[in-house]
């Protein structure tokens, strides 16, 4: 059994419970966990970015002598000239290039992916051999048309037209209900895996998360007991405040 790995598991248990402690009440343990998350994420992203910069810019120039990489590197550096009063106008050149390039590659693919393909998918014969497919097609086409009608706000939503838009509203509400249901499903999945971790469940993917072995994982609850003692002492000391 690797003691360092075990300490790592206990630290992870302690941090998990520091976050969970917010469910009881706002406290310094939760705040510390929050700051740690923000700091670690920022640090990790910075290090990952730096590695990419070294691999894609510095090594090709300094090691492989590919000097053509200097041009994009210089253009990238020009973005920082916006902080200079004298040369700030220069940052417009890489910005224009980025906008032009971005629009060029995006417009066509967005139109094709989100409009052409999606609209073509709704142009379907409603009647199919299978009655269930017919029903699906009917819901798909009427749902699309009626939901879109709800957003035509230039006409008063009254009379027959009002009926259409009301039906569209119900389709949107059903979709929102489905999204809410999915959100609950996702959130419970997060809770379940945290509980599996906290109780040292052998089914938890210890190895697949670089958290040691199943045997080490079984000792995870010790970290939990330690947190409960520390948090209990904090609550005792802060009572009445």
């Amino acid at each position: 059994m690797d003691l360092l790995q075990l300490i790592g598991i206990w630290v992870a248990v302690f941090l998990t419970l520091m976050v969970f402690s917010f469910l009881y009440k706002e406290n310094p343990f939760f705040r510390l966990a929050e700051y740690l998350t923000v700091g670690l994420t920022a640090g990790y992203s910075f290090a990952a970015g730096l590695k990419i910069f070294a691999n894609q810019a510095l090594i090709p120039i300094l090691v492989d002598k590919s000097y053509d990489f200097i041009i994009p590197l210089a253009l990238g550096a020009m973005f920082y000239l916006q902080f200079s009063k004298k040369y700030s106008y220069l940052y417009r050149f890489p910005l224009s290039l980025a906008i032009g390039y971005g629009l060029g590659v995006t417009v066509w693919s967005v139109m094709q992916t989100y409009f052409v393909e999606q609209i073509s998918a709704t142009i379907i014969p409603i009647r199919a051999a299978d009655p269930l497919t017919t029903m699906n097609n009917l819901v798909l086409v009427s749902g699309t048309v009626l939901s879109l009608s709800y957003f035509l706000l230039s006409h008063d939503q009254k009379g027959v037209w009002g009926g259409f838009t009301r039906a569209g509203k119900y389709f949107i509400l059903i979709a929102l209900g489905a999204i809410f249901g999915s959100t609950v499903l996702g959130r419970t999945a997060l809770l379940i895996q945290r509980i599996q971790f906290l109780v040292g469940d052998p089914a938890f993917p210890w190895g697949a998360l670089n958290l040691g072995t199943t045997a080490e994982g079984r000792l995870a609850p010790i970290g939990g007991i330690f947190f409960i003692l520390v948090f209990g002492y904090y609550l005792y000391r802060s009572r009445g405040r």
């Binding site: 590659v105 073509s120 469940d201």
Partner: protein
């Protein structure tokens, strides 16, 4: 007169939820899970690809961070295991900075059989921007001079065999949001018609359904449940721990449904009481 007083402290609900999750987890009960069409579609596509185009290239993209691990990591484990058991070549990439380390964590636990690094699979690492995502479709080496292990990609047999990502016969992204499926749809699937599938969190899945209906993607794995379904399909039950979690998932959802119904009953009873009070 019916009188309901259900002004529960939120902490009571949290405690109930933790209880209904912990008890099934500790009891280690497993239940069979019905397989959904969206999951079956992904499984079937990969199996057919291995039969019809053996040794073709698959790209797996780990586009999630540690906060999405409970939902997406089990999916990544079971799909990667299936691909490693078939005659297919794999390139691993990631549009999220955490992705490369999560890729290594998956590769540490799966059975790689006779697959060799550099020949059958390679880990290219983090795709930092759209320019790289687009560029690698035509030239991988230019945009990834090195793999995550520090080898020049020009020395990898798999890259020599498939120098451009557009040569891929299948792409799967395990995505926790943006960047993720949308970028692949715009820059890989639409222009090069690379068959694409997505492993999604439950929150994003409804947003991806239109792409499934329009056949722009071949299938969707939805949250932890899809990983459990996949474990049954591949006969690798509890490889990722997803099947074990299903009973707890059912009990927690039942509790939430019960609380929603109870809340609604209380709302209607209270509204009726208020209406009656006004009419007196």
């Amino acid at each position: 007169m019916v009188k309901l007083s259900l002004d529960l402290d939120a902490r009571t609900i949290y405690l109930l939820l933790i209880l209904v999750v912990t008890v099934p987890v500790l009891s280690h009960t497993m239940l069979p899970v019905p397989i959904s069409d969206t999951t079956k579609a992904v499984y079937q596509f990969i199996e057919n690809l291995a039969k019809t185009k053996p040794n073709s290239l698959v790209v797996l993209s780990f586009d999630y961070s540690t906060s999405n691990v409970p939902e997406l990591h089990p999916q990544a484990i079971v799909v990667t295991q299936q691909i490693f058991s078939l005659p297919l070549k794999v390139i691993f990439v990631a549009q999220w900075a955490d992705g490369p380390s999560l890729t290594d964590a998956v590769l540490d636990v799966i059975d790689k059989g006779s697959k060799k690094y550099g020949v059958d699979y390679a880990t290219l690492g983090y795709i930092p921007n759209v320019a790289t995502l687009i560029g690698m479709t035509t030239d991988i080496q230019q945009f990834f001079p090195f793999d995550t292990r520090g080898n020049p990609t020009s020395s990898l047999q798999i890259i020599q065999q498939f120098p451009a990502a557009k040569d891929a016969s299948f792409l799967m992204t395990f995505t926790g949001g943006e960047p993720g499926l949308d970028d692949y749809l715009q820059y890989w699937q639409t222009p090069f018609k690379i068959p694409t599938a997505v492993g999604a969190t439950a929150i994003s899945a409804p947003g991806y359904m239109p792409f499934y209906n329009s056949k722009q993607i071949v299938g969707i794995l939805i949250s932890l449940r899809a990983a459990a379904e996949y474990e049954f399909l591949t006969n690798e039950v509890d490889l990722s721990g997803a099947v074990s979690a299903m009973v707890a998932q059912s009990t927690s959802l039942l509790l939430i449904v019960f609380l929603v119904i109870l809340g609604n009953v209380q709302y209607f009873v209270r509204s009726r009481t208020v209406r009656k009070g006004r009419s007196r």
